[in-house]
Symmetry: C2
Subunit: 287 residues, 2 copies
């Protein structure tokens, strides 16, 4: 049994807990809050699933990897993944362990599908269309506008990678909607997309963790144009993220056992390493 | 530059040639007909793309691997892949080389997607719906019926993995359609599916290498049901198969360079190994 623990117990941590409990080859050895003293973490851990806020991932993953514990995170700032990988790779290699970075659905499984489609049709354009679903980054930006008590920013796909933002806001007592709307539309998070601001009595009444993706590629295989590919999903967002992290925990454990130390993103993983069961069972069932 | 050669020059061999020529990191060092004497093959080959009929793959791949040459094939008899892998793995390990087996779209890239969807939602059902497109196996079976001059069997997806067979036949002079139809419908290849037999003046007039897949999974991530996934493609069949084999040739070359000897199916490959360019370039572009 792979000994798995969870650090951080928000939406993703809870979903990861469910996925560990459903895995036939894992046991849950602990759940830690991210304000726990890291030095208190017991030694009985093969893989720590790091479910802290993204900006705290590196701090915790570095300490854990330095102790030789495998880590999995869902770090999601696309532009900073390479530098995180460089930093974590050095720590993991020095301490003979494995970190899997940005394990979720985007970055994550979508990245694997984008890579696979590039291998199938090397020239062409891929569009990743997100939603409908909540954008965490845009929701945080909307909440930071003066006069906003609570907010929810929905991402609506318009095709070819273009998105509409539907921003539902609960105003603070006495705040002026027109002023709040103007400030929000001027914010850099919203200024570049079609954005609609809608006042509501209760943001909580809109709460729903559904999300989706429509990933489309038209490209060229060899000399043959018009090869068309499409991947769609409609999912519970934290449930999928937690599950993908747990599947990656299995891959991290196996890679460490084989001496393949270092930090990896999901496009660097073998799909079979994500699955329980033997090589023979999986090849016979899936290939 | 990776030195790539092609063995077999039918539809797939020609498509592989186009894909090698389009690859920025490969040079084509030879094209061999599968009745060429294997001892005549020049030594200047890193990877041989084996485009012979499926039943001849093992014979040729074994001889090539014994010489330390990497091979890629698109062996497509699902029930025999594991035993082929066992046999080729022994030859490859002994001769410090790499064989990638069943590199096409099914088995192949579909297998990778099925594995990925299992990692995203471990419980549930996946349906792989093929077509519309030609089935080689059913076409060969139809041609073997007495009184059939030429035939084409189309696979039509009806959903949930159920398929209709549309069999177009050109009769031999004096053959009786009703007799041919009855014999065909009684053949084990057709007896278990909804099958329609249609007489035509020219099978050649129907020639089209288009094919497609609709791969659907509904499953459970952690404890959350009703996670829904779908992969669709509409493609030129030999062009995609040839391209996938060429992308796998790159992976074989890299795995051999890292000392990862043996025979592998596509679910055992890292997606990034299929792509030209550096790890940094691909992570920045795709993750």
């Amino acid at each position: 049994m792979i000994k798995v623990a969870i650090l951080g117990y928000g939406n993703i941590g809870r979903a990861a807990e469910e996925a560990v409990k459903a895995a036939p080859d894992m046991e849950l050895t602990g759940i830690y809050h991210h304000d726990d003293c890291l030095s208190c973490i017991a030694g009985n851990i093969d893989v720590m699933i790091v479910c802290t806020p993204t900006r705290e991932v590196q701090k915790f993953a570095t300490v854990l990897a330095a102790r030789g514990i495998c880590t999995v995170d869902s770090f999601d700032i696309h532009g900073q993944i390479w530098s995180l990988r460089e930093a974590m790779d050095a720590v993991c290699t020095a301490n003979k362990t494995v970190s899997i970075l940005s394990a979720g659905w985007d970055p994550g499984t979508d990245s694997m599908i984008r890579a696979l489609l590039m291998a199938m049709a090397p020239k062409g354009i891929t569009y990743t269309n997100f939603g409908p679903g909540r954008s965490m980054g845009h929701t945080v930006a909307a909440k930071a506008i003066e006069g906003v008590k609570n907010a929810l920013s929905m991402t609506i796909p318009l095709g070819t990678g273009i998105h509409r933002r539907m921003v539902y806001i609960e105003l603070e007592e006495g705040a002026d909607f027109k002023t709040v709307e103007a400030n929000l539309l001027a914010d850099d998070y919203f200024a570049h997309d079609e954005t609609h601001v809608i006042p509501v009595d209760s943001v909580d009444a809109l709460n729903n963790v559904a999300h989706g993706v429509n990933l489309v590629r038209s490209g060229v295989s060899g000399a043959t144009h018009n090869q068309r590919f499409e991947f769609n999903m409609e999912i519970n967002n934290p449930a999928l993220t937690g599950q993908v992290m747990v599947s990656c925990a299995r891959a991290a454990f196996r890679m460490k056992a084989r001496g393949e130390y270092g930090a990896k993103t999901m496009i660097e993983l073998r799909p079979i390493d994500l699955l329980p069961g033997s090589t023979e069972q999986n090849i016979k069932a899936l290939v």
